[in-house]
Amino acid sequence: MDNICLRQMHKNQHGVIKAISVSGELGRRLREMGLVPGTRIKVCGRAPLHDPVAIRILDSTITLRNNEADHILVEIE
């Protein structure tokens, strides 16, 4: 099983969040949306210009920019 950055995930790929290495406002915004280690995510798709990315987490769809996704390490299933 590989650990890769969320930015590198393809569409419809599943994974479990391993680590989120950012503090401050972004860190908090990610956490309140349910992006915490141990949570399962799936990439739903990307915007027309490949950025931002939309992901499925818990029971909702969240979108974030690629440079924000860089802080998220995912273990691919």
Partner: protein, 735 residues
Amino acid sequence: MQLKMALAGNPNAGKTTLFNQLTGARQHVGNYPGITVDHKEGHLHYQDQKIIITDLPGTYSMTAYSAEELVARDYLVYNRPQVVINIVDASNLERNLYLTCQLLELGAPLVVALNMVDVAKARGIEINATVLAKHLQVPVVPIIARSGFGKDELLRVALQVASTHQQWNPLNISYGDDLDSTLPELIEIITAESLLTDTYHARYTAIKYLENDEQIQAKGRETAPKTAQLLEQLVDESTEHTRRTLDVYPEAIIADHRYGYIKSLLRQGVITRKFDADRLYTSDKIDKILTNRLIGPVLMLAILFALYQFTFSWSEAPVAWLSNAFNWLGNLVEEKLPDGILKSLVISGIIDGVGGVLGFIPLIMFMFFGIAILEDSGYLARVAFMMDRIFRIFGLHGSSVMPFIVSGGIAGGCAVPGVMATRTLRSPKERMATLLTVPFMNCGAKLPVLALLIGTFFGENKAKYMFFFTMLAWIVAMLAAKLLRSTVLRGDPTPFVMELPPYRFPTIRGLCIHTWERTYQYVKKAGTVILGISILLWAMMTFPALPEQVSISFDQKRQAALDTAAPETIGEQKTKNESSSEQVKAFDKTIALINNEEAEAALRHSIAGKIGTSMESVSLLAGFDWRTDIALIGGFAAKEVIVSTLGTAYSMGQVDAEDSQSLSDRLKQDSNWNRVVAVAALVFIMFYSPCFVTLVCIAKEASWKWAAFSMTFNTIFAYILAVAVFQIGTFFNLG
């Protein structure tokens, strides 16, 4: 006694729907002082009990990062509502309970309204409310806010809680060994020194210190600097420890444990799922089309264009009715009142002013109705998702696209609803940059001016030039946004992370309430100021009146014309005979010429005229003579006024903005005008100070300081551009 009830919950959890359901039309929207977060309050009677409900801003959390969260938290701790209804989305329970968890840590008397149980059920999610209530130790009432199901039960339970629970009872969660050892230390100090204990429980303050909560830390420093220093030191040590051993900050550990608490709770028979979590729902299927990489943008353009059409074509008729009504009123006054200052004040100051305020109402209503549909259905978030990559380049946000389009991104919008539409942006800096640059777009009032100048000097390629100037507005607005974001609004982008809520059908009731709120706010807050400024501008264009001997000399000229004309001509003129002879026409023309000359002299003599003439030396650098200057001052009232003021300044009498052929011919012959001057004037008119109605809206949405900034910044910016155009154009002799 009135009972205070507050409504808290995540955005998109159905909070506003429940609020509307509970209060109906008995609600009131205001602003929290200094920020643009709505303060919504509503009344209701239940079992002979008067209840005031406050709809707190929708938040995912209770930290101190955003204005919304601060407002929600401050309201709870300072106003101490007797009961807090926490609305949670049953189809997205885990994430929603994160906020619930924090409300419990705060200790507020809580009732959980488990909303959208029908949606959850359709998704195969079954929630056992009894078990959930048992574990959370607060009542849980399943409801469907849209239909009103469970409303009565919710109120009954809420009143019960309000009558029994008076003590705030914080929930204690374990945050793991590392923090659980530090917490008691912090609590001990806080309790011993009674730091903020009148507002927060000691444990809550301790947690907030560990979470690095700026508001609480600042309050601590303010009330007891020494204690605060001691606490901060302990927190620093603990942070250092967790950073070294676990490579995380305490705030992340706390969040993890909150989710851990929720997960373990949900595992104890609260939730059962029938389907696989990856199943595609209707909403996801719609997204496959609407956010498709190829079709998505095309559909988006079509939808935005439809919204634009809806706002501006459908509001055309009501706008025309209003304007006819005010014309009728003006004519009535024209007939009834004797000539003089009073008449001029009533017609040009008051009736035009009130007409100006009310004239925007249909636009605002239609636009907010349209935006409410896009927002409530969940589509607006998709627009932001698709457009963000482009707008981010200029330091803006994907959501900025709407205000730009409404303001005239498709030529012919209006910056007033555009500025008001920036409310949909929740990132403060991006919002401010959008707010300040939307007035650069070509609104409907600039179009007659553009049409006049383009028609006069570039008549052969009118459509091409119109398109060019629309594109120019976009480019300049984007570059100006970038300039603002790297100077006065400098700073890292606000995190974009946001939810793409499932598509939902908006409720008619919600749409109507939303539209009414915005319109009412505009009339109430902007209306009076706009009327005042309108009168002020009228005074500037009217006073001081021409000196007596000058107006006497015009009277003498008119008398002379009367004397030379044949007596029967005058008789005919007085009876307004239809079959006027050539002589009568000639006579009318002479009188009109004298009147126009007098109007020009009066305008030049007024304060506005004096400002215009005194600025000539500066404005000549951009190629504008005093006549243009006065017209530009007039354009501050409304951009289409530029055409009519220019007409007066050229002694042409009343020029209709929609039909300015005579003025066009006049400009063509004038030696002061040529193609280069026309382009310089166009550039200046497009980008200088927004009209004062827009400025008042900027002031109401941001502050008067920002409105003043917008006025000066835009004018200087436009002036520099116009001078550059004129100087370069003249140098290469392009005129």
